[in-house]
Amino acid sequence: MSHFVPQLINLFATLILLLSFAMLAQRRIVSLINLFMIQGAALAAASFLLGYVTGHPDLYVSGGLTLLLKVVLIPWMLHRMIRKLNVRWDVEMLLNIPTTMLVGIALVIFAFSLALPISRLSDAVAGGALGIALACVMLSFMMMITRSKAVPQVIGFLSMENGLLFAATTVTNGMPMIVEFGIALDVLVGVLILGVFMFQIREKFDSLDIRHLESLKDD
């Protein structure tokens, strides 16, 4: 059974990567938030599983924190926000979807090759998943660049945090507790501030299209 668990963790890792790709190609904002929620759930499950296998109680706490924050609290806040802001669709993107996917693949290859020598050095249970975590971070980064509405950019940012947390969990069996709490607090406050922001932007520009925010240039 014990050899089963690393495979299960790898399965969760692949699921998280799959969800990152799905978010990259998703147009409906409600689905985007739901995908983010599922990604958070997979991350929490991986933490719990890792905690069970390695016997570190910290990982249970970390998993619980992820569950509370990324699966319950933040998606609820985001759903409320988009209902008030009345955004549903993000149809136009910088690049069309097939091109986005191809660039995504290139990023995944880059991330894997970068992480391969490092994950060989790691003696953690799920060390091989570092490449996947780095790939998720890069895909979220790409999502932030290629979107033209504010809400998907925010979700890309949060998904990047997910990827980083996953990297920390797999490679080092979680960071020290105080750091994890600090990061969680930062993320929460960040989402709150972004929410306030989006209302301000909406008020000023009557739309959440980021391309309105490109007037400051060097002339």
Partner: protein, 485 residues
């Protein structure tokens, strides 16, 4: 009971108190009082460290050594003077209708919380908490940048949040890699991310992991320093917020990011044994200096121009620390100090100048010296100082940096001279008409500006250029040798 508790506790308490009463007219004075208390606590702590040597506080979670103690005092001092400056400034802004009482509340409480996060970042021993503090500093200032609610300020704040958030996420990844390297040597305990423990074992950290970690850390924290090509948020954020915010962002936050990079550089140099970290820093630093200098020559907005000047100087500082060695490190530390002092002084005068003119466009501000001689002279002297004229402190540090570069990295000197020359010419061309030009439509200010901070800062900058007191010299030397290279 170390003074550190006061240094951190006072701003935190101030933030909470001002969140409740920040909209009252008295709040401005309360802000100054809290900053004053923070500064006094920092002085006490400094004296403790001078007498007693490096300190560990609260189960080794905080570490005060020569490198960060004077930065803490500098931060507290500039925080105090900026609070003094902001008293009349924000009052005038409120009269002009750009600020409302609820926003003043936000402004005052975020100001204190921002001080708290910066001081936390300086004094913590935990690499993870440095990250948390940097992110928190970004968060507290994001709302400050957009506090005027103009389209330009919203755009600046959004860019600031997103770009710095992305950058800092890279730094988090770098921190995770450092933790991984440390984990192999120290095992997974809470002490594993403590910088002091890592510094003791830095020779045993795995080079592959540490080199990748440093790249991510440099990119991540470098975004917050404003290194080119990760700088595009900086001119917007520094130019669109209220001037006190620009002053602390330019003068203080950049130093915190630089400090984080320095701590990581010490670990990387120990682990790698090669000059890779220094070379990366030199490359980025040089690029920033050159690019920023050329951007200065294209600016029309006065605060943007000075933000690019900040990028240029931080690039110079990064270059200096990249070169390493006792002289360059000393010069870097000196430059950090004088840059904070002089740049914030410049922003104080520019703030009042823009208030009088009602615009930030340089071609429309003229004849400051005739209308308000203190503002005019303050700006003139400040610009002289920041351009590196003797006998100000910036001249001394730039001289040291350039001579070290000529000795050790001669290939870089033509670029440095070119960039410094371009910046000199561009800024002077733009500032001289502002100060000495023909009279234009400058309005008098409703409340007398607080310009004493300007001259105090400039005086300190002058003093540091002429004579560095013995204890300060000892600090710089100790910190420089700790930075190694």
């Amino acid at each position: 009971m170390s003074a550190l508790y006061l240094v951190l506790g006072v701003p935190l308490l101030g933030g909470l108190v001002l969140a409740l009463v920040g909209h009252q007219p008295r709040a401005r004075d309360i802000n100054v009082v809290f900053s004053l208390l923070t500064f006094l606590a920092a002085c006490v702590m400094t004296v403790e460290v001078i007498d007693g040597g490096p300190q560990f506080v609260w189960a080794k979670q905080f570490y005060i050594d020569p490198l960060n103690v004077f930065l803490v005092t500098l931060t507290a001092f500039v925080g105090l003077t900026t609070a003094i400056f902001s008293r009349p400034y924000m009052r005038i802004e409120q009269d002009h209708g750009k600020m409302t009482p609820p926003r003043m509340r936000l402004y005052h409480s975020m100001y204190q919380l921002f001080s708290f996060t910066m001081l936390l970042g300086f004094t913590t021993n935990n690499l993870g908490i440095i990250w948390v503090a940097m992110e928190a500093a970004t968060l507290t200032t994001v709302l400050l940048v957009s506090v005027y609610r103009t389209p330009a300020s919203l755009e600046a704040a959004w860019k600031y949040f997103i770009l710095c958030g992305v950058g800092i996420a890279q730094a988090l990844f770098g921190t995770i890699l450092v933790y991984m390297a440390a984990d192999k040597v120290l095992g997974a305990e809470d002490a594993t991310l403590l910088w002091s423990s890592l510094s003791d074992i830095k020779g045993q950290l795995d080079p592959t992991i540490m080199s990748l970690a440093f790249v991510f850390l440099l990119i991540g924290y470098g975004t917050k320093i404003g290194l080119v090509p990760l700088h595009s948020w900086l001119p917007d954020a520094h130019a669109e917020g209220p001037t006190p915010v620009s002053a602390v962002l330019s003068g203080l936050l950049l130093n915190v990011a630089m400090y984080a990079v320095l701590r990581c550089k010490v670990l990387t140099d120990g682990a790698l044994g090669t000059q890779m970290a220094g070379q990366l820093m030199m490359g980025f630093g040089l690029l920033s200096v050159v690019v920023a200098a050329f951007f200065i020559s294209r600016q029309k907005d006065v605060k943007r121009m000075f933000s690019y000047s900040s990028i240029e100087h931080m690039g110079l500082i990064t270059f200096a620390f990249g070169m390493g060695g006792p002289v360059a490190n000393f010069a870097g530390l000196l430059h950090m100090t004088v840059h904070s002092l002089v740049k914030s002084a410049i922003f104080f005068t520019v703030g009042h100048a823009t208030q009088k003119a009602g615009t930030q466009v340089m071609s429309e501000i003229r004849g400051l010296i005739k209308v308000n001689p203190t503002v005019g002279w303050g700006l003139m002297l400040g610009v002289m100082a920041i351009l590196g004229m003797p006998p100000f402190g910036v001249f001394a540090s730039e001289f040291l940096i350039l001579t070290t570069a000529m000795r050790e990295q001669p290939w870089a000197t033509p670029f440095l001279f070119l960039a410094l020359g371009v910046a000199f010419a561009s800024m002077l061309i733009r500032v001289l008409p502002m100060v000495f030009g023909e009279e234009t439509k400058l309005k008098p200010l409703a409340h007398p500006p607080a310009l004493i901070p300007v001259f105090v800062h400039l005086a300190l900058g002058l003093v540091l250029g002429l004579y560095i007191p013995a204890y300060l010299n000892g600090w710089y030397v100790a910190a420089a040798s700790m930075l190694g290279g």
